[in-house]
């Protein structure tokens, strides 16, 4: 009985424990620059965009699929949102609603529809739309950054609010919603069911196509919001932003204990997974590790973090 409860604790808090251990290690290595309150806020802020992307990716992976297009979607929606404000003179909130929220959801909807219609594995479909959305971004922007958004926008989506970065607030609100959806709603539980055994889910009356469509729409939605946050944070919508961000988002989800085969994982742990990634790169910066050695260390720490998790949770 003891063993059982340790296992369930580790399942809940294992990722957090790893985060704390890593933080401790860096704090010892670079006490002056790393282990400060300001830097802690910095780590969270820098992880905010990956958190947003990871939330969406989590849904895709939960079904045993994947979404490779989220980086491109973020760039695309960021660009649209910015253009709506800068060239269309639109109110920031309306622009975010149309460009980021609706735009992102639409991109995801397209992914989901294509997957359902063609029956092709999400990897290939979203690899294709990754190219497509990036190309569309480059085309509408002519590869130029768009800037000059209203202060209201950059402040509300990328600024500080009583010293708390808005990017973090938004990421946490989105994460909270995702956590609610996956753990409290029938819809969310259906996703775990589908991830565990899709055929059985179908025979039990779950409309798997509708659910998959919804999942990719959510994934696109999160990426869309991330696009707006990125644009606000940078003060400009960059056409080449978030290239390769999907890999980081996937890594965050997996570090957070999400199973690649689907049906297993929890939003809070995914958030901590994103924090671990942010922690690693911040920590290595703060220790003044030379650039190439940072890559080396990132790879090793990534493996170490997930192996540690696996080792502890297998032990009991």
């Amino acid at each position: 009985m003891k063993a059982r409860s340790f296992k369930s604790y580790w399942e809940k808090f294992g990722t957090l424990a790893i985060f704390i251990v890593m933080w401790g290690v860096f704090a010892v290595l670079a006490p002056g620059s790393f282990a400060t309150a300001g830097n802690f806020v910095q780590i969270i802020t820098q992880s905010a965009t990956i958190m947003l992307l990871a939330c969406g990716e989590f849904f895709a992976i939960l079904l045993g699929g994947i979404d490779l297009s989220i980086g491109s979607v973020a760039a695309f929606t960021g660009m649209i949102t910015a253009k709506l404000m800068v060239e269309g003179g639109m109110n920031p909130f309306l622009a975010v609603l149309l460009g980021a929220v609706l735009g992102g959801a639409l991109c995801g909807f397209i992914n989901g529809t294509l997957i359902n219609l063609t029956g092709v594995h999400p990897f290939i479909i979203t690899l294709g739309t990754q190219s497509v959305f990036r190309a569309l971004t480059l085309i509408i922007s002519n590869a130029q950054a768009t800037f000059g958004m209203p202060k209201a926008f950059t402040q509300i989506f990328g600024g500080l609010w009583n010293g708390i970065p808005m990017a973090v607030v938004i990421a946490l609100v989105v994460a909270l919603l995702c956590w609610f959806v996956t753990s409290k709603l029938t819809f969310g539980r259906n996703l775990y069911v589908m991830g565990g055994n899709r055929d059985a889910a179908w025979f039990s009356g779950i409309n798997v196509k509708q659910h998959l469509l919804m999942v990719h729409t959510i994934s696109g939605l999160c990426a869309g919001i991330c696009g707006a946050v990125m644009a606000a944070r940078l003060g400009a919508a960059e056409p080449n932003t978030a290239t390769g961000a999907e890999t980081e988002a996937i890594a965050a989800a997996i570090i957070g204990g999400t199973s690649f085969f689907g049906g297993k994982g929890k939003v809070p742990n995914v958030i901590v997974g994103a924090l671990i990634l942010g922690l690693i790169s911040n920590g290595l910066n703060m220790c003044s590790v030379p650039t190439f050695y940072q890559n080396l260390a990132t790879g090793l720490l990534l493996i170490a973090a997930v192996s540690l998790d696996q080792a502890v949770s297998r032990k009991k």
Partner: protein, 342 residues
């Protein structure tokens, strides 16, 4: 600055040893936070943080080595050089800059943003922390910067449009009666590559008798450039007289394509020249418009030191003057000058 740097202990021998070890290992001049604090108090040595686009490409490598060489001759300046993982890692670079500011180690920053806008919020953060910022190579979009309330105290570059124009001029010199030209640009959307491309294309199109047959992306990659150039050569055949590439890595791929297809008669103009390209130039296989990255970066460091010494850290209202470090055309005849300096 905030964060670190408040500690005023004297430097312990162990720490210096560690620092020395790191230096030899990484060929970077490093400094501990303690030492920086000490420097601040005495007021005559400066630690400057330098942030490149990336360190894993020849151009930035040249800039690094050139800069380190020249800074070594100054005795009151130490530098630490960083770069993003790749030239596509926009937010990664911003995170790095924020971390450099938060660490409190640096008296001034010299940064080369990957795009004209991706580091703007970093500059604003540095301004708020009262750290002067100098702009290297890739120019910030000054309107966007001013709008965000940020400012830099200095800027040095070589003019990318001018680089493209110089290449076009060389092509026109070589083929006074007109020519068909292909351009291999960088990765889609990369600014410096686009400016070079535009400079070259516009200059050629403005002149009588010159046609730009094709512009294709070589993704800054040697193999992609090899494939793209081979396709160009096969497609245009004799129409194709000259190729301009937006950097030296791709030039090497194009050169290989020319050799493979037996079209060594094509007049190839590269931007920049790493050692491998220099040898090829010496062999008469191509020419190159070479920028002086080390000079650019060093000028930036000098501007940063000047700012620190004068105490004028700039403001939103003043725009720094562009310091243009000229690019030079190197051919078989004068390449020995460049190779001597290596």
């Amino acid at each position: 600055g905030s964060g670190g740097g408040q500690t005023t202990e004297t430097t312990e021998p162990a720490a210096t040893e560690e620092a020395a070890e790191e230096t030899t290992e990484t060929t970077e001049t490093t400094e501990t936070a303690d030492a920086a604090a000490e420097a601040e108090s005495t007021g005559d040595t400066y630690t400057i943080g330098v942030l490149f686009k990336t360190l894993s490409s020849p151009y930035w490598q040249l800039m690094q080595s050139g800069l380190e060489e020249q800074v070594a001759q100054l005795d009151n300046v130490t530098i630490e050089i960083f770069g993003a993982e790749s030239e596509e890692d926009l937010t990664g670079q911003l995170n790095l800059m924020e971390n450099m500011i938060t660490s409190g180690k640096y008296d001034a920053l010299c940064v080369a943003p990957i795009t004209p806008t991706n580091l703007i919020s970093g500059v604003v953060m540095a301004n708020e922390a009262n750290i002067p910022v100098v702009n290297i190579d890739e120019k910030f979009d000054m309107d966007a910067l001013a709008e965000a309330g940020g400012y830099v105290v200095g800027y040095a570059t070589s003019d990318n449009v001018a680089v493209g124009e110089m290449a076009a001029q060389e092509i026109m010199n070589q083929f006074p009666d007109g020519a068909g030209v292909c351009i291999v640009e960088g990765i889609a959307g990369a600014t410096s590559g686009e400016l070079r491309r535009d400079g070259c294309r516009d200059a050629l199109e403005a002149a009588e008798g010159y046609t730009v047959l094709d512009v294709q992306p070589g993704d800054w990659d040697r193999q992609t450039a090899l494939d793209v150039a081979t396709n160009m050569i096969n497609k245009y055949g004799d129409e194709l007289d000259a190729i301009f590439t937006a950097n030296d890595t791709m030039a090497k791929g194009v050169l290989q394509a020319m050799i493979n297809t037996g079209r060594e008669d094509i007049f190839l103009v590269s931007t920049d020249a790493d050692t491998e390209v220099q040898e090829a130039i010496a062999a008469g296989q191509l020419i190159a418009v070479v920028q002086d990255p080390g000079g650019i970066a060093f000028s930036c460091v000098e501007q940063a030191v000047a700012a620190l010494e004068s105490g004028n850290y700039g403001s939103v209202d003043e725009q720094p003057e562009d310091v243009l470090i000229p690019a030079t055309v190197y051919t078989q005849d004068n390449i020995s000058e460049l190779m001597g300096t290596e």
